[in-house]
């Protein structure tokens, strides 16, 4: 055996003995880390839930890529394709009016999953919020004023269906029609995986003016980016907290076990090996704490997902608390937490080399 194998064996025996005999000293920091990880997982899962729902709601309605002109391009991954116009218009009914985005499409089947009442037939599909604002119902006729130059052109449409995407701006400001007489100036693509829009854009549409749903809905997608930042911030704070909590418990542990340190030094143990004993202990604490937190966290997320807790509608774009486990944060936080803990433990245990053997031996 090499010297290192011997000293590692001593470190192992010491860690085993210390854990066996002083389990209660491990309880507090383990629980502290578990609670931190638990909170981290629940919070990031809620943030992730909102984000995924928002992305889902946007991409269910809004074209994943909008290309200027009529595009005939076809490639695998496309779910639907249509030609359309998008114009600023004014809509009026019974004395109330509002400015809307008039989406004039040659094929309105993309709306299918968002329709909450009525049928997809010839006429106008109107967002739920807009219908409430105008106090209009299915069967009523509304007037649309398209502004072409300085002369507004008025046209009447019968409301045939109401849609609800869950995104307020779509539900309150969009009117979808199918005007067989108009010339369509844009092509809309919907993909199997909307998150691939950016990739498709650079692959197939780099020479034509094209916009992904992300680029067209910057204010909404920025929310997602900010959410990601918040999740990262929370992770950083919880990881730092875990690091401090463990380094604090190590300091305490070193002070209460000064005598053992003195004994080990008198036996000729190297400072770095004594440090290893304490670092291993904190590593064990953080792994157990992490696993405990992960267990509680995923359990909580599963229960929340099952319960679909009601939240006030109108403030958010959903009326229940959406949760979705953020696997990448849950996974990476393990490595970050253990890494930070080892780092902090290493810094903290450096004080061991400053402990005087004889003084430590007198400690009771």
């Amino acid at each position: 055996m090499t010297n290192k194998r011997f000293s590692d064996k001593a470190v192992f025996s010491l860690v085993k003995g210390f854990i066996k005999k002083s389990r209660k000293n491990f309880k507090f920091p383990t629980i502290a880390i578990a609670i931190g990880v638990w909170g981290l997982i629940v919070i990031t899962s809620v943030v992730n839930g909102f984000d995924r729902l928002l992305i889902d709601s946007i991409t269910r309605f809004y074209p994943h890529i909008t290309v200027a002109g009529k595009s005939d391009l076809y490639f695998s991954g496309i779910k639907e394709k249509m030609f359309f116009n998008l114009d600023n218009s004014m809509v009026a009914f019974n004395g109330s009016f509002d400015y809307v985005q008039l989406m004039d499409c040659d094929d309105v089947s993309f709306l299918g999953s968002s329709i909450i009442s009525g049928q997809l037939e010839n006429g106008a599909a109107i967002g739920k919020e807009l219908s409430e604002y105008l106090n209009i119902s299915i069967g009523d006729e509304l007037t649309v004023f398209k502004i072409k130059g300085i002369i507004p052109i008025a046209k009447k449409y019968r409301v045939v269906s109401l849609f609800k995407t869950g995104v307020y701006i779509f539900d309150s400001k969009f009117l979808v029609i199918n005007d067989p007489d108009s010339v369509k100036n844009f092509t809309a693509y919907y993909f199997e995986d909307p998150l691939k829009a950016g990739e498709y854009k650079s692959k197939y549409f780099s020479y034509s003016p094209a916009y992904t749903w992300k680029e067209s809905n910057k204010t909404l997608t920025q929310t997602v980016e900010i959410d990601g930042l918040i999740a990262l911030l929370i992770t950083v704070f919880i990881v730092l907290m875990a690091g401090f909590s463990v380094s604090n418990s190590i300091t305490f542990s070193i002070l209460t076990r000064k005598k053992e340190i003195g004994i080990l030094k008198s036996l000729g143990m190297k400072n770095i090996d004594i440090q290893k004993v304490f670092i291993s202990e904190s590593l064990i604490i953080s792994v157990i704490g992490y696993l405990l937190g992960l267990l509680c966290g995923t359990l909580t997320v599963t229960v929340l997902d099952f319960l679909k807790i009601k939240i006030p509608s109108g403030i958010f774009y959903v009326d229940y608390l959406p949760v979705s486990l953020n696997v990448s944060i849950a996974g990476s936080s393990f490595f970050i937490i253990t890494g930070i803990v080892v780092f902090f433990s290493f810094l903290t245990t450096r004080m061991i080399s400053g402990i005087d053997t004889l003084e430590a031996l007198k400690d009771e």
Binding site: F6, K21, G262
Partner: protein, 205 residues
């Protein structure tokens, strides 16, 4: 250095408070293959001398030469207050001591334990031991591994005469490889000692 000498110290001065010296220009030699017993009244500086010779304290003045290779691994201590690791059993204490000294041999521990009559308590924790058992456990740990020089501070103070004899009997058997520097007031230790030194007021008489 003479082949038979394991350690020489010359002109050792030490003071805890930098005012009142505890050791006052002390000279001492320890030979290989010997049990050296040191007597002296309480407070004369015996423990202090052991700490300095064993490298746990550094002298204010004077010179110490060792005839030991890799001395950190080769020096053992039996402290006046035993200093066992409470979280480990007696056996684990000895095992850790062996490992720290880059050594690993269960038989050595069993063999020595049998000779000083503590085989039956090897798997007990220090808190479960009598003072005499603790003292013998501390002795066992001090000689676990490839030690060549062992400093014992009153290693048999709490033992009955039979157990005292057992401990010194083991020291005698081991002295072919290990030098023992024993602080003791015991008549028994005098009987087993190859040399007896007297210390008083910071010097060897």
């Amino acid at each position: 250095m003479n082949e038979n000498i394991i350690l020489t110290a010359e002109g050792i001065f030490y003071s805890y408070d930098k005012k009142n010296p505890v050791l006052k220009g002390l000279d001492i030699k320890v030979l290989k293959n010997e049990i050296l017993t040191l007597y002296g009244p309480s407070g004369s500086g015996k423990s202090t001398l052991i700490y300095i010779l064993g490298g746990l304290l550094t002298q204010d003045a004077g010179k110490i030469l060792y005839n030991i290779e890799d001395k950190k691994r080769k020096i053992g201590f039996v402290f006046q207050n035993y200093n066992m690791l409470n979280e480990l059993t007696v056996f684990e204490n000895c095992k850790v001591a062996q490992n720290i000294r880059s050594f690993d041999d269960d038989r050595q521990i069993f063999d020595y334990a049998e000779k000083i009559g503590i085989t039956d308590i090897l798997y007990r924790y220090p808190a479960e031991l009598s003072v005499g058992q603790l003292q013998r456990s501390a002795v066992l740990r001090s000689i676990s591994g490839p030690v060549e020089l062992v400093f014992c501070d009153e290693p048999t103070g709490s033992l009955d005469s039979e157990n005292k004899r057992n401990v010194f009997e083991l020291f005698s058997q081991l002295k072919e490889y290990v030098a023992f520097f024993v602080v003791s007031h015991d008549e028994v230790s005098k009987k087993y000692a190859d040399r007896v030194l007297n210390m008083s007021d910071g010097i060897i008489l």
